[in-house]
Symmetry: C2
Subunit: 338 residues, 2 copies
């Protein structure tokens, strides 16, 4: 039986009201149940989900909550029956629990790590042994922690649902968001051409540095749609904005093209149906990803690829880190480190 500390520090949400309600406190270190592992978290990362929960904007919130879906660290202890892992191994955590047997569709019983199951904004987390994967060796813990939920979402949206093929052109609206930076990186890695948009010149510059072939300021350039069309046919749009952005995506994508939506910042869209059926467009929902998606996504990092890390905060600065995400001032993932 491995030993582990009896108390750990963790970020708790006892009441709704925004990220300012998050508090750092001491709680009992969890013990791994049979089939689980205890991971010592070296770095975690933020997702919009964490922010939404603090504001009550998420289904089935249970309080108190220990949030955090992304984490990387070391195996600290093994529950009974776990023989495939060794204490001290560096791992990154697959954040979907109980996905089920069908890679095409998650089980209704599935959930995301970090509410209701205690998440990664803590010194230790218990997860099923099948949820830990070897950390890509060339990545730091901070870099590895940036990957899980955002990389998974981007992978499934681009490949499993969006069926991206080499040589196609992908439009990435709002290129600064955490998931969108993965979309950009993975699409380039897969041999696609990428058109990125943002309202920030600084983010457009960074998108170009990550490999965007064309980067357009939609706020300052009212003819950006024309420029997108002039740049050649767009095969695929990957978006989480919804609203007007979705309507525009349907007007710029080529006949037979696909628009994959993995979120809805603007939760409704008015869709003109003539273009949809006449041009045989597809609007495809996507969210999270299967274990198969996660394994294939991690393999993209085998050849030296690195995620876009916006900034690393200390876990004690979680409120400031959340505010940065809320301002949408980040480019890439916001990481928390102990």
């Amino acid at each position: 039986m491995a030993s582990y500390r009896l108390a750990m520090r963790a970020v708790l949400l006892h009441e709704l009201g925004g990220p300012e309600r998050l508090v750092l406190e001491e709680v009992p270190t969890p013990a791994p149940a049979p089939g689980e592992v205890l991971v010592r978290i070296r770095a975690a990362a933020l997702n919009h989900r964490d922010l939404f929960v603090t504001r009550g904007l998420y289904p089935k919130i249970a309080l108190p909550a220990l949030l955090g879906s992304d984490g990387a660290g070391e195996v600290a202890a093994l529950g009974d029956g776990v023989t495939s892992l060794h204490p001290g191994s560096d791992v990154v955590i697959y954040p979907m629990l109980d996905w089920g047997d069908d890679p095409a569709l998650r089980s209704p019983a599935s959930s995301i790590l970090g509410m209701p199951r205690a998440g990664t904004f803590a010194q230790y987390v218990c997860v099923p042994a099948r949820n830990v994967y070897p950390k890509p060796a060339h990545l730091s813990f901070e870099e590895a922690a940036a990957i899980p939920l955002g990389g998974l979402t981007a992978y499934r949206a681009l490949f499993t649902r969006g069926k991206l093929a080499r040589g196609e052109t992908v439009l990435v609206p709002g290129a600064g968001g955490g998931v969108q930076t993965f979309v950009l990186l993975f699409a380039k890695q897969a041999g696609a051409r990428v058109i990125a948009t943002s309202s920030s010149e600084e983010k457009l510059e960074r998108a170009r540095a990550l490999g965007a072939d064309l980067a357009l300021n939609y706020a300052e350039n009212s003819s950006w749609e024309k420029e997108v069309r002039a740049a050649g046919p767009v095969d695929l749009v990957v978006d989480s904005s919804g609203g007007e952005t979705l309507s525009k995506a349907l007007s710029v994508v080529r006949p037979g093209g696909r628009v994959v939506l993995y979120g809805g910042t603007h939760p409704e869209a008015n869709v003109k149906l003539f273009a949809l059926f006449w041009n045989e467009l597809s609007v495809i929902g996507s969210t999270m990803g299967s274990p198969q998606d996660f394994a294939a996504m991690l393999a993209l990092f085998d050849k030296g690829l690195k995620p876009a890390v916006d900034r690393v905060f200390s876990m004690t600065q979680i409120v400031a880190a959340m505010r940065r995400m809320d301002d949408a001032s980040q480019f890439g993932k916001i990481v928390l480190s102990w």
Copy 2:
């Protein structure tokens, strides 16, 4: 060189203004160009496209127009170079011209028979030899003429775009329309379960007679959506109504389900995006169909299947026939016969 008449009767549209503008007159019988065949039309059928053109509600209308996309008849003469066909053969016409080489996407140069190319509301029509297929032997000319554009649209929507699998459940809103009766028939033939809706008890009765497992009156039964959900998960919806029907389709389809749209009677829809991405739904546009779709669709009739023919009018009664379609009082295809 085969002989053909110098004059024929045909339905012409010289000016826009609705189906009342259609006139029967004598015009020169066309001569088949190299690679074409002249078909003596024994029966034709109506599509909403014909009605839309008479009202000016269609892209790129050229007048005078000789409408009609659906036809069945006999090969009357062969153009130079056509060796694969024999005069006197009974044929049904594939109504897409210049689809192109890609089964997944029609060429921008493609068009539908019956404007600008002279269509089937005539005693004779010239089409490329590759556009004629053997008439299924057990079908009358009237039955065969009912099939082409409607059957093609239904086939592509259900199978090529909708990926219907045996054992799945298909929701068919507005089950009386010509295309929707093919959707119902083909889905049953493919081993699917069919839920049909209509506002007419008479049409619901006919949908049951065609094999619908459940037929619901959406006008008189405000809880029809609940009944659909209670009847088990809906995998696929095939719709051409758009508007509110599309919104409801997205609320009744199961997680991972597909909604295929091949028309937009109500041309805009408000789409709630949370259900779309969270449930990984797909909204898939579809229209017409490839030569491959047409051949596979015709093969569905090999085992004795018959199309739903609403009524057979004489070609001289075309205005009355068009009014019946405009009233939406038909169940199945409205056929015209010489």
